[in-house]
């Protein structure tokens, strides 16, 4: 189990996270990331790591719970 976090001020709406892990991230009408869940399973971890890594402004993180 791990916890996902987002820096909503830093987010610029590039949407790379939505493509990498659509069950965890979405984007609102203003272009700010929306966390669809905060706790993720081990199976989701690889996709979330990819999302974190693909954020152009490093607005995302994931921490072991």
């Amino acid at each position: 189990m791990a916890v996902v976090k987002a820096d909503f001020e830093t987010c610029q709406g590039y949407a790379n996270c939505v493509m990498a892990a659509p069950e965890v991230y979405d984007i609102d009408d203003e272009g700010t990331v929306v966390l669809l869940k905060e706790e993720i399973t081990d199976e989701e971890r690889a996709k979330v790591d990819e999302a974190v890594n693909s954020c152009p402004v490093s607005a995302l993180s994931v921490e072991d719970a």
Partner: protein
């Protein structure tokens, strides 16, 4: 078993390849070589937030010394690779040192196409953090700025210089510079965008010469006009850093020629990633080279997988994605519009007054001759970006894409063409 991977190039493609290898549980040795002496940093802010003085360099660092140590990535910075000895499996450095590898990943990126004009001082290209610092120092002094090149880098620099209060003129030999990529109709809106922000354009005109020094430059145009400038910025494209491979025996043709797995076609232990890679895109049926940030990151993930799992190779066939921030427009392009033959525009991009509140927003959808949805250009519309990316990822038809985007637009935003 691959005991050591040497990655040549410490920009985003190289750094992300190293990180992805470790994240994928690769336990062997990883050496990351960088020609610049700075710790790895990201490039997109160099024409925007860093150039404007809004972000410090720490904000876009890619890999700290501590993070490298923790991930057991051996950083060797400040020495360029001189050539590659494929037979001996060694990277030969400019200082004569040889670094052996089992697998090498070429990530040397690209450089700004050099200015064909020479002035005493005050003439800039923009690629590295040192370039951006030098340009920022000149932009800090009042005086007119001439930007040569109306593509994305040129437009971003123009917008940044304007935000600093400078008087700015852009010159480009094409009448509609962005039209080459997005078509004339959409491209014209980018021309209007400059004018709305009080940036002058001399489009359809080339530059004959640039003379003088910082603060007192003269730019002569091919149509006989003369512009005076304190600072000139030349943004006329990029060239892959592949000349150091000329003696390697690798096939190099505007980038390192690779198969669909990003392996050099004549040396399977050599991979290429990022701007320097020309790989076979199976979706396009032809080789391509892409200079965008997201491509570097996506390709790095694929290359790291293929380095570590040669028994389960993955073909790299991305949907391209690039963004540009110009004035109050956030522009995103998904797919490859130049493969399209027609397009349809939804939104009020050309009519900023049509949206009572907020910025204008629009999406241009592109289709090819087989009525396939091939690309989208999005301005200030995050939901349309996500929808377009999803549809392109699954290979949607153009009609489906158009109907979904129209639905997203709602009744207020009728298609214009």
């Amino acid at each position: 078993m691959t005991a050591s991977v040497v990655i040549v190039g410490s920009s985003v493609a190289g750094v992300r390849t190293a990180q992805a290898l470790r994240r994928g549980a690769y336990e062997g040795r990883i050496v990351l070589l960088g020609a610049e002496s700075e710790l790895p940093y990201d490039k997109p802010p160099l024409s925007k937030q860093f150039l404007a003085g809004e972000w410090p360099a720490e904000r876009f660092a890619l890999l700290s010394a501590e993070a490298a140590e923790q991930a057991r990535i051996e950083l060797r910075l400040g020495v360029a690779a001189d050539h590659l000895d494929v037979a001996e499996r060694q990277v030969v450095m400019a200082n004569g040192k040889r670094i052996g590898y089992d697998v090498v990943v070429l990530a040397t990126g690209s450089q700004a196409r050099p200015s064909p004009w020479v002035a005493e001082s005050g003439l800039h290209v923009l690629r590295t953090i040192a370039d951006s610092q030098a340009l920022a120092a000149d932009l800090a002094r009042d005086g007119p700025v001439v930007v040569v090149g109306g593509g994305f880098i040129g437009a971003e620099v123009a917008a940044t210089a304007r935000s600093l209060g400078r008087e700015v003129t852009i010159v480009d030999p094409l009448e509609v510079p962005v039209g080459r990529l997005l078509g004339r109709e959409v491209g014209s809106m980018f021309v209007d965008l400059h004018h709305r922000n009080r940036v002058a354009t001399h489009f359809g005109t080339g530059v004959k010469s640039v003379e003088g020094r910082a603060g007192q430059l003269t730019v002569r145009l091919t149509d006989g006009q003369t512009l005076t400038a304190a600072t000139v910025v030349v943004g006329i494209g990029a060239l892959p850093n592949d000349s150091w491979l000329a003696s390697s025996g690798l096939l190099v043709d505007d980038g390192v020629v690779c198969d669909e797995y990003c392996r050099a076609v004549n040396a399977p232990e050599v991979f290429a990633v990022g701007d320097v890679a020309r790989w076979m895109h199976l979706g396009y049926g032809e080789s391509c080279r892409v200079e965008h940030w997201t491509n570097a990151v996506d390709q790095a993930a694929c290359v790291a997988h293929n380095v570590f799992h040669p028994e389960a190779l993955r073909a790299y066939r991305p949907v391209e994605y690039v963004w540009s921030d110009q004035y109050d427009w956030k522009i995103q392009i998904v797919g490859r519009p130049t493969r399209a033959t027609s397009h349809c525009l939804i939104g009020d991009l050309g009519r900023p007054s049509a949206r009572a509140a907020g910025k204008p927003r629009a999406v241009a959808l592109y289709k090819d001759d087989s009525a396939q949805f091939t690309a989208a250009a999005i301005v200030n519309w995050p939901k349309a970006l996500v929808t377009a990316r999803r549809l392109l990822a699954v290979g949607s038809s153009f009609d489906d894409a158009l109907s979904q985007l129209e639905q997203l637009a709602g009744p207020r935003m009728e298609p214009i063409s």
